[in-house]
Amino acid sequence: MRQLVVQVVLIVGTLAVSWRLLLGYGQRAQALRRLGLLLFAAFAVWSILDPGVWTRLAKLVGIGRGADLILYGLVVAFFSFVVTTFKRFRDMEIRYTRLARRIAIDEVPPATQHPAVVGGQLHKATGAIEPGETAPETSGELPDGPEPALSPSLPTHEVGLPTAASHSSTVTPESARADDAP
């Protein structure tokens, strides 16, 4: 009977935590997570001073040993960690996709000025565009940057920033040269 109680409590807890974290991604959810962490730390200190507390608590809810209760708790904690991490990675992926898209689109002339469009009907026979016009100097530089990295969005995101930095650093020598000239 008591086993049933703890099962129900754990299932409800697991679902509630994951639901809460799935839905709430704002300040409140973050605050709740931090409070939970604080409570967890406080309880950890308590259980160091009084190791029997886990066993007493476990007996109270119908689990034999305190270690089992800790295990169950960890399962819930780990699961919620997985869910939040997934969500965070997903948000990160969306953001760096937008960044990459912006870079990609900024590098080509808009449709109203693109030679493939503007001269589209004129050069239909050859179909060729002057390579210099549509392939700016950066095309040689970009593929050197972070190569295909689909799933781990975090590393790619971090690697992506130096690319932007190196991008701007390529400008610096030119401006330095410009300063030297006069």
Partner: protein, 227 residues
């Protein structure tokens, strides 16, 4: 020709065929944007040489992201009225696109989806059929649409629809995401109007060798559930 129409072609390592696909397509459509998704081969240059606008993703982002980039680019053309999503591997037929365009030009629908299952021309394997049926069943159950083929890469969209689309599923689940977003769109307080047209998907040896495996359908399902 078809100056109000942009073909959006996501491009990833298709150097063997993309040049021919673009050249052939340009006989009918002058406005083609290939979104090179960080190909490691010659795809982007081939497409450019064949006369397409090429937008290059600096890193590989996935097909969904490539489609959205193509949409964003096509919106820079004020003359654009329709966007066609088209595959790079030569599976799709220009004739089908023309029929779909004719359909959308009548003006009573804003979206035309291609479907493999409205006639007998396309012959997917039994297993592929099963997976596609399951996918469309799931999509219909979770979106406000009723389609026979949700994972068809051939679609014609009217500009207002393109303006509202915001694909965030970078990998394969983007097909269902497009359907879901379109299904929940409202114009003048009414649900968006859409229809399906039968299309013929040409399963060549080349496209088969690049096609999705059954395992990938599990990935799609997972991406859909935990989006």
């Amino acid at each position: 020709m078809n100056d109000d129409t942009w073909l959006v072609i996501p491009l990833y390592n298709e150097a063997a065929v993309i040049g021919e696909v673009v050249r052939h397509t340009r006989e009918t459509f002058s406005k083609i944007v290939c979104v090179d998704d960080g190909s490691s081969d010659d795809s982007a240059r081939q497409a450019e040489a064949a006369g397409a606008v090429v937008v290059r993703h600096p890193v590989n982002l996935g097909q969904g992201a490539a489609l959205q980039t193509g949409f964003t680019y096509s919106l820079t053309d004020p003359k654009m009225r329709y966007v066609v999503t088209f595959d790079a591997d030569g599976q799709h037929q220009i004739d089908d696109v023309l029929v779909m365009l004719e359909r959308i030009r009548r003006g009573d629908v804003k979206v035309v989806f291609g479907s493999r299952f409205l006639d007998e021309r396309t012959r997917p394997s039994a297993l592929k059929k099963l997976v596609l049926r399951a996918a469309v069943g799931y999509t219909n159950a979770t979106t406000h649409t009723k389609l026979t083929d949700a994972h068809n890469g051939l679609r014609v969209l009217e500009r207002p629809v393109v303006e509202r689309l915001d694909i965030t599923q970078n990998r394969m689940a983007h097909a269902s995401e497009i359907v879901a977003q379109i299904g929940s769109m409202e114009f003048d307080g009414r649900q968006v109007t859409y229809t399906e047209e039968p299309v013929h998907i040409l399963y060549t040896d080349y496209s088969m060798s690049k096609g999705q495996s059954l395992w990938n359908s599990i990935n799609i399902l997972a991406e859909l559930i935990w989006r």
